[in-house]
């Protein structure tokens, strides 16, 4: 049965011990006394000369009684409690997995064990759980050893972006139970925490500066990259930056950032240079000091325009201008290589293509009334935030509706725009004559076609190079056909040049995200490169350490745990009685020697009258 103390502040009463000793040291000052026998003293040893400023502490009964009284008083004030033999407590620790915690990891390793051991001392057994706030299931450690938990902390790598920790805290609360202790280890002074979690903030403000964003642009045949360097501190910061490409290292350049300001730096990819890494002189937060870059190569989409003899040159010109103006779209005449076909609806041959297509209606009539009726736009990603209400179209022949058609825009009871077919062969049908409408002047028309093509592009399995932000989900279509080979992921980090590989089934490839730390990642399927992504850290909330703070919301937890898992000392009345007895005895011995030291009263002089 262990012993613990409900009120450790009671040990402050031990300060009474030095106080009493000091009083006993100082209470006797030099006493002045007239003597007639100094010559006898001077003949004795010289050791008595000089005296001491402090009286040497001498053992006395009052001294020991007073010290004993202080010890008993301390014992009473500290509220000794006897631990229940089978007491068990659960402590769940949730680590904030955001990247900014990488700076505070050393402080966690220093401060957390002490706090955990202090709490664990309140019960005979303690179950510990360690979770990462980025994950909503599983835990990093489960056991009863603080050392084991700290080993898991050592292996833990915080590299995520800003995220909601509530799910992880809810899970941790369910593990710890209603009466268990839930600690959220983070680097910010959060005032309110869910799930009755207690804050264990270990952050400190840092003067961080780093790469806040990257863009690339094709200009005059060159690919130019631009980076934003941001200073998150209130003092000017100077950094050096340089680029590396392969084994070559570029010139080091200096950039001075104003307080809380930013600077743009830019350069161009050299000819035949497709990859490079931008470096910034490192500080404590290294995630934003390095950013890999690739020359972007979007997945190209081949569009086959109408090639029938009925298509007028004006129409051909319109389609060419329209589709060639869209980014990542190439026009092709090769029917085998095309991804999207642009076709006219022929009522004499109403069969539609077996591929993604944009279908337009052509009405040979010269005059037709303008379509009337309420124009209604359905809720759909292709029409979201687009204004179709200004569309004017003449009544032309119509594509007969089929079951499964998904109307996007209605005019009266006529669908003016609808989707037909399964997702991989979807057709966007314009159920009005484009030539006899004002659709060409509507932004919604162009944007709608652009969205449709992008939707088609997302489903095409083709090589792509792009720059992404860390942690984002990578939309990269893979071959999901039955018997499709698995997807192989390879990566190389920019911070420490570590590389690795991972093979996942093709069906799970959609779940893959960009790495949490800057890295160059490749995704292949059956030796076919599908994606080369350069991930850079761009979460400015994590890079900003101005709001970092330290605060431990552990006040009273030790006392609460002790009271919950122990019982009070039943002999406190006896101790109180003993204290009073000791104090009374000390008072007695203090006064008794004083009475004994008194000189006997001087003998009464016999008066002259009494003398014989």
């Amino acid at each position: 049965m262990g012993l613990s103390f409900g009120n450790p502040l009671g040990f402050l009463a031990l300060l009474g011990i030095p106080a009493i000793i000091a009083i006993h040291f100082l209470q006797r000052r030099s006493r002045q006394l007239t003597v007639s026998t100094l010559f006898l003293l001077q003949q004795l040893q010289r050791e008595s000369e000089g005296g001491n400023r402090f009286e040497r502490l001498r053992s006395s009964i009052p001294l020991w009684l007073q010290l004993l009284a202080v010890l008993i008083l301390t014992w009473l004030l500290a509220e000794p409690r006897w631990m229940e033999q089978n007491s068990v407590q659960q402590i769940a620790v949730v680590l904030d997995g955001s990247a900014s915690m990488s700076v505070s990891k050393e402080r966690i390793q220093k401060q957390l064990p002490e706090a955990l051991r202090k709490m664990a001392s309140a019960t005979a057994h303690t179950e510990l759980y360690l979770l990462d706030s980025r994950r909503d299931s599983g835990h990093l450690y489960h056991g009863d050893s603080v050392s084991g938990l700290m080993e898991a902390v050592s292996a833990w790598q915080p590299s995520g972006g800003s995220h909601d920790s509530a799910p992880a805290l809810r899970l941790a609360r369910s593990l710890a139970g209603r009466e268990g202790t839930l600690l959220f280890v983070t680097d910010q002074d959060l005032k309110v925490l869910p799930s009755a979690a207690r804050l264990f903030a270990v952050g400190e403000p840092e003067n961080n500066a780093g790469i806040a964003g990257l863009t690339t642009e094709d200009t005059a045949g060159r690919t130019v990259w631009r980076a934003v360097i941001r200073n998150y501190s209130s003092t000017p910061q100077t950094r050096e930056w340089w680029i590396t490409s392969g084994d070559a290292t570029g010139e080091h350049k200096s950039v001075t950032l104003p307080p809380n300001g930013m600077q743009n730096i830019q350069s161009a990819f050299a000819e035949n240079e497709n990859e490079l890494t931008l470096h910034l002189s490192p500080d404590k937060f290294t995630a934003d000091d390095t950013a890999p870059l690739v020359r972007p190569r979007p997945r190209a989409l081949a569009v086959l325009l109408p090639q029938d003899e009925l298509t007028l040159p004006q129409e051909q010109q319109l389609y060419t201008a329209l589709f060639s103006s869209l980014p990542g779209v190439t026009l092709t005449a090769d029917r085998a290589a095309m991804d999207v076909i642009v076709a006219h609806y022929n009522p004499l041959d109403p069969s539609l293509p077996d591929k993604p297509a944009c279908i337009f209606v052509r009405d040979p009539r010269k005059d037709a009334p303008v379509l009337t009726g309420t124009l209604l736009v359905e809720q759909h990603p292709l029409t979201e935030n687009l204004n179709w209400h200004s569309l004017l179209a003449e009544d032309a022949l119509s594509i007969p509706s089929q079951p499964g058609d998904e109307a996007l825009v209605w005019q009266g009871d006529r669908p003016l725009l609808f989707l037909r077919g399964p997702a991989d062969k979807r057709m966007l049908c314009f159920n009005f004559d484009l030539r006899k409408s004002n659709a060409r002047r509507l932004p919604a028309f162009v944007i709608g076609i652009h969205r449709f093509l992008e939707d088609v592009r997302k489903r095409i399995v083709r090589e792509e190079w792009r720059n992404v932000e860390c942690g984002l989900r990578l939309n990269c279509p893979v071959d999901l056909s039955p018997g499709a080979p698995p997807v192989i992921l390879t990566w190389k980090t920019s911070l420490d040049n570590k590389s690795g590989a991972l093979t996942v089934p093709a069906a799970q490839a959609v779940l893959l995200t960009a790495p949490d730390s800057p890295a160059l990642r490749e995704r292949k399927q059956n030796d076919r490169l599908l994606l080369k992504a350069a991930a850079h850290f761009a979460d400015v909330r994590e890079a900003d350490f101005t709001v970092s703070a330290s605060r431990h919301d552990l006040e009273g937890i030790q006392s609460t745990l002790i009271h919950r898992h122990s019982r009070a000392d039943g002999a406190w009345r006896i101790w109180l009685l003993a204290l009073l007895t000791v104090l009374g005895a000390a008072w007695y011995f203090i006064h008794k020697p004083a009475a004994r030291r008194q000189k006997p009263p001087a003998p009464a002089r016999r008066s002259a009258a009494a003398a014989p």
Binding site: R28, R29, S30, R31, Q32, L33, T34, V35, S36, T37, L38, F39, L40, L41, Q43, L44, Q45, E47, S48, E49, G50, G51, N52, E55, R597, K599, P600, A602, P603, R605, R606, S607, A608, A611, P612
Partner: protein, 296 residues
């Protein structure tokens, strides 16, 4: 004048000493003395009733002392000689160093002993010679000043060298006198020197040494700042129980040396404590060794 000796204290002590002189007397009965006609046995022949001897008549002898019975038997004139009765000479030497008066008890006891000696001498029918001594200073105190309690005004004031012995060689002690030396003997130096001086010229020295408990059994403990009673100088000392024990041993040895020297020179030395009442204080030692005698 020492502040410890106000006239009121001298007067009170004198009154008390006069009463105690009726209980105790000075040790004048134990030997013959020299002096004028008095009540005490002298060395020569005199007119007392105590027969001493016979001798042949010589012309000029007082015919009243011719032993006529012897003449009747022998036919020769012979004279009857009687013992001489004299008033003994008494010299009272008072040590007036500040240590004699440094506590009220000791000052009172020293003064009481002094006036007891004076009254004892007066009761013996003598006129004592009273000397006050301190260091190299000595003065004969007129009897009138002693009895009028003004003698303290003539004493030297101010600090003296610490534990400096009185210069007894400059005190004109009379031959064959009773020398009453009242001193606490708390001065450095060999006791034989002083006992020899007191015993010169066939004098009979008696030393009455007042002392107080603050000297013999002090309660010193811890850090002390001693003030020398004579030099008035300050001396910080740390007193441990071991040191206090050694002091007590040294104090005892100091008076053992004095007693040894007193025995060697036939000097009667009695220590008189200051705390008990005067009769009880004399009975402790002085009465026992004959430094004073009871009247009965």
């Amino acid at each position: 004048m020492p502040a410890a000796l106000p006239p009121s204290l001298l007067r009170e002590c004198h009154v008390r000493a006069r009463g105690w002189a009726g209980l105790f007397r000075l040790p004048l009965r134990q030997r013959v003395w020299r002096g004028g006609t008095g009540d005490f046995m002298g060395r020569g022949t005199g007119a007392s009733l105590d027969f001493q001897d016979h001798r042949a008549y010589a012309p000029g002898d007082d015919p009243r002392h011719i032993n006529w019975q012897a003449y009747a038997r022998t036919g020769n004139y012979s004279m009857k000689l009687f013992r001489e009765e004299v008033r003994p000479l008494i010299d009272i030497v008072l040590d007036v160093s500040p240590s004699m008066f440094f506590t009220p008890e000791k000052a009172t006891r020293s003064t009481e002993l002094f006036y007891f000696a004076v009254e004892g001498a007066l009761r013996a029918g003598t006129s004592p010679a009273v000397f006050a001594v301190a260091l190299g200073w000595q003065r004969l105190l007129p009897q009138e000043a002693v009895l009028s309690h003004r003698w303290a005004e003539q004493l030297p004031d101010g600090p003296l060298p610490s534990a400096a012995p009185p210069d007894l060689s400059r005190v004109p002690l009379r031959a064959q006198s009773l020398r009453l030396f009242i001193s606490d003997l708390l001065f450095a130096g060999a006791p034989e020197h002083f006992t020899a001086l007191l015993s010169t010229r066939q004098g009979r020295p008696v030393v009455l040494a007042p002392y107080c408990q603050a000297e013999s059994d002090p309660d010193w403990d811890g850090n002390m700042e001693f003030i020398d009673a004579e030099a008035l100088s300050h001396h910080p000392r740390r007193v441990e129980p071991a040191l206090l024990k050694r002091y007590r041993d040294a104090y005892g040895r100091h008076f053992e040396l004095w007693k040894t020297a007193a025995q060697r020179h036939g000097l009667v030395m009695a220590r008189v404590p200051a705390e008990p009442e005067f009769p009880a204080a004399l009975q402790q030692e002085a009465l026992r060794i004959g430094a004073v005698e009871p009247w009965a």
